[in-house]
């Protein structure tokens, strides 16, 4: 059984979700709930930190697709950061860099959110 965990951090107007383990069809439910909770609280500036993620399946990628329209329509965004090379390849192959902002470093993403806000 693959293990997957999310943990939440806050930095000003931005919420950072650290994900670790394997993100697949089964574990994606947990990430869905984490993101939904943030949206429910009105926190739509979301950064997903991938630094500890081991594997992502297409169902895992679907999670971001299912929320991105709603988040953007509320003036927020979902940005990705700290992707391991292996994970980035999957995103790159499917063309996700065209749809999402992907940063090497989480701070750059936070800065981006702050500059957009001000």
């Amino acid at each position: 059984m693959a293990t997957f965990n999310t943990s939440l951090r806050e930095s000003g107007n931005t919420s950072i979700i650290d994900i670790s383990g394997d993100l697949d069809a089964h574990t994606s439910v947990e990430l869905e709930r984490a993101i939904q909770d943030l949206i429910d609280k009105g926190r739509t500036n979301i950064i997903i930190n991938f630094s500890n993620l081991n594997y992502i399946s297409s169902a895992g990628l679907g999670v971001f697709m299912s929320f991105i329209d709603e988040v953007r329509s509320k003036g927020g965004d979902i940005k990705f950061s700290n992707m391991p090379e292996k994970i980035f390849q999957v995103f790159d192959l499917l063309g996700f860099p065209l749809l999402y902002e992907i940063y090497d470093d989480e701070h750059k993403a936070i800065e981006k959110f702050q500059t957009t806000a001000s």
């Binding site: 697949d24 069809a25 439910v29 869905e32 709930r33 081991n54 594997y55 399946s57 297409s58 169902a59 990628l61 679907g62 999670v63 697709m65 299912s66 329209d69 292996k86 999957v90 192959l93 499917l94 063309g95 996700f96 065209l98 749809l99």
Partner: protein, 748 residues
């Protein structure tokens, strides 16, 4: 059967013959006595005793046979004690009435008191008849009593019970026989005294065998208490009021000893019975309850087998619990429906519209309770009660433990005043209706594998209605039922799973038919492909489309629908339709084809889904492959000794509605020489892992393609597939659907 009937007739005949002879002797003696009574010889008296013994023996056997024949099949005692007492009381009354009527009709005084020296001094011939009638009626009655007593004494016999009784009866009989030939007024001889004393001692032993009393019902005991004194009184009246003692003696001295012994024993036994009945009466209710409990527990253990009808288990549980706690109690069972984690808010909203709902967790943390079976209480009453006592359900859901309220009227949880004086006032003022007729209640959770199934509520109209034993019993019922319900659910789950499995196999068959059934024959090209879903059905797809009329242009697609299983399979089927129709409309540019496909698919796909696809058009006349990639794994091209990945920009289908997609998707044009190999595949190949979690990866794929490049397309395909399998063999896994398509240009 024949033999039994014949035996009965024989006994009857023996009785009649001995009785008639005996009567003849007595009548003869009477008339002789009129003349010279003192001439009665010892021989005649012995004859009389012998005939009397014969009669009594025949009567005894006849009655015993009748009782035995009419016994219920499984009645150890042959008789129901209460029924026997009832018949006994009626019978003795009839006998007394009959003999009394006889006496008043024919002769008020029976025997001549002055002539004690004579064996019999009946005053009239009617007296002689009366003696015989007395024996036939009252004597038979005493014998019946003796038989019934024997059966009751032998009930739940111990090792010596039977021999004790036989000894008593035998010594009594011996004592009687020892007095053969005696006449009225004779003293008992030494032998008879010895025998009778032993018999008397054995009586004391037998008197206290009363194990039949305990199991009979309380009502029956009460009735028996009234009936037994009637019988005792009847026997006493018969002996003293009707002088039957003297008639027995006149009939036969030795038989009279036996019958008197029987009467004494019978009376003593009845008296002991009476006292025992009185003594056991208070405890009989408890005993009865225990036996009902045992019976119910037994029945409960049987309903474990009722696994196919869960509803039946609820009903049984409710009725058993009610039986165990007394008929006046109200019992109902509330099923627990926990909320699923993702949909709890929605479920809570749906739940509020359901009927028979007792409690709903508004925070959406637990679930709701719904009444599914109830007895002796209406749903409205439960509803009214639950609206005041919702903490009860909440507590059961939270703590999964018994909740018990002894005095609802004065329970602080119901908002009752806490001071005793106020409580007292409230009690005086309140009417029973104010608490819906519920005085105390116990709610027991049904737990299976530490999961809450439901709650069994037992309510009584009185306060403090439950004792410790009640709780234990209800808990036992609840536990048993929980196991049964759990089993039932597991079995149903299993059946459902099996059915689902069957349907998935059908779906699998259908999906396999959506993949190419044969390879197209192309001038100068070999082509072969294979697809293995990770589960029964998958989201991988590959296909060939003939473009144009001749076999010169063929479209080839490989695609991977995001996600796995059934939903992916549906999109895969949809994709096939789109591919088959669009490929002919856009015969020249794979990019155009993909742009159009994206537009169509983006409309129908749900947000979280997307499809990666690689589409190529093979032009056999120019030996060209035109490729376009929508977010799919790059094709491997082996040319000469060199293998490389054809990387192209692109975006998976369904991610974007159109503009972004068409801006970024690109095309590649590859000229294929003889011996060149193109491998198309899905990420199942790349992402297959070995036991160290290392991925199969692009390098291994290119390597195997390069090494097998001399072989046919089918063989290359097999080589790749086998390589992936070998790689994952030892503790690794293919995580996704796996598809491989190989194209090779061969010499014409």
């Amino acid at each position: 059967m024949q033999k039994k009937v014949r035996l009965t007739y024989f006994l009857f005949l023996a009785l009649i013959i001995s009785e008639v002879l005996h009567l003849a002797v007595d009548v003869g003696l009477f008339y002789a006595g009129e003349a010279r009574a003192y001439l009665v010889s010892f021989g005649i008296l012995v004859l009389k005793d012998f005939l009397a013994c014969l009669s009594v023996g025949a009567i005894y056997l006849l009655i015993r046979r009748q009782i035995e024949l009419h016994a219920l099949p499984d009645a150890v005692a042959w008789v129901e004690p209460e029924d026997a007492f009832k018949r006994g009381a009626i019978l003795i009354a009839l006998i007394i009435a009959f003999l009394a009527v006889y006496s008043t009709l024919f002769n008020p005084s029976d025997f001549n008191p002055d002539e004690e020296i004579l064996a019999a001094a009946p005053q009239t011939i009617y007296t002689v008849f009366k003696s015989h009638l007395a024996l036939l009626t009252f004597g038979s009655y005493l014998l019946s009593l003796f038989i019934v007593a024997e059966r009751l004494i032998l009930f739940r016999r111990l090792k010596n019970t039977k021999s004790n009784f036989i000894l008593m009866a035998a010594f009594l009989a011996l004592g009687s026989v020892a007095m053969f030939g005696a006449k009225k007024g004779d003293k008992l001889n030494v032998l008879a005294i010895a025998f009778l004393s032993v018999s008397g001692l054995m009586m004391l032993v037998n008197l206290f065998r009363l194990s039949w009393i305990l199991p009979i019902k309380r009502d029956e005991k009460i009735r028996a208490i009234f009936l037994v004194p009637l019988i005792i009184g009847g026997i006493a009246i018969a002996f003293n009021g009707l002088h039957l003692d003297e008639h027995f003696t006149a009939y036969s001295f030795s038989v009279s000893i036996f019958l008197k012994g029987v009467a004494v024993f019978g009376l003593l036994y009845l008296v002991v019975t009476l006292f025992s009945l009185l003594f056991y009466l208070p405890t009989s209710e408890a005993f009865e309850r225990k036996s009902i409990e045992v019976k119910n527990l037994y029945a409960m253990s049987k309903f474990i087998t009722d696994v196919f009808e869960e509803e039946k288990i609820y009903d049984s549980l409710v009725s058993y619990a009610r039986e165990a706690c007394g008929g006046s109690s109200s019992v109902w069972f509330d099923m627990y429906h926990p909320y699923a984690q993702q949909t709890r808010t929605a479920e809570s909203a749906i739940a509020s519209k359901l009927p028979n709902l007792q409690w709903r967790d508004l925070n959406g943390e637990y679930g709701f309770f719904k009444t599914v079976a109830q007895q002796n209480i209406s749903l409205e009453t439960i509803q009214r009660f639950s609206s005041k006592a919702d903490f009860l359900w909440k507590q059961v859901a939270e703590k999964k433990s018994i909740v018990r309220i002894d005095d609802i009227e004065n329970d602080v949880r119901f908002g009752a005043p806490s001071s005793a004086v106020k409580q007292f006032w409230k009690r005086i003022k309140s009417t029973p209706a104010s608490s819906n007729g519920i005085g105390s209640i116990v709610s027991v959770p049904l737990l299976a594998r530490n999961k809450l199934i439901g709650v069994l509520c037992v309510a009584k109209d009185v306060e403090y209605g439950f004792v410790k034993e009640d709780l234990e019993l209800i808990t036992t019922f609840a536990d048993q039922a929980a196991v049964a319900i759990d089993n039932s659910r597991l079995i149903r789950e299993l059946i459902d799973k099996e059915r689902l499995q069957q349907e998935l196999l059908v779906a699998q068959k259908i999906q396999l038919r959506l993949l190419p059934q044969s390879q197209p024959t192309l001038n100068g090209f070999q082509i072969d492909g294979v697809s293995y879903p990770a589960y029964e059905v998958g989201g991988d797809y590959f296909d060939y489309v003939q473009i144009g009329d001749r076999n010169t242009t063929v479209g080839i697609i490989i695609a991977d629908v995001s996600g796995k299983g059934t939903s992916a399979a549906f999109y895969m089927a949809e994709l096939k339709g789109i591919v088959q129709s669009l490929a002919r409309i856009y015969p020249n540019s794979p990019k155009e084809f993909l742009c159009k496909a994206n537009e169509t698919i983006a409309r129908g796909l749900e947000k979280a889904s997307f499809i990666s696809a690689l589409y190529g058009i093979i032009d056999t006349e120019r030996s060209m492959l035109h490729l376009s990639n929508a977010g799919h794994c790059p094709a491997v091209v082996v040319q000469g000794d060199d293998a490389k990945l054809v990387k192209m920009k692109g975006l998976a289908l369904g991610l974007d509605k159109g503009a972004l997609f068409s801006r970024h998707v690109s095309e590649a044009h590859i000229a294929l020489n003889v011996g060149d190999v193109v491998v198309l595949y899905t990420d199942g190949v790349i992402e297959a892992v070995d036991k160290h979690e290392e991925q199969f990866g692009y390098e291994r794929l290119m390597d195997i393609a390069r090494r097998s490049r001399q072989k046919s397309a089918s063989e290359i395909k097999n080589d790749i597939f086998n390589a992936v399998n070998f790689f994952t063999n030892d503790g690794g896994a293919v995580r996704d659907d796996l598809t491989i398509v190989v194209l090779k240009r061969c010499p014409v």
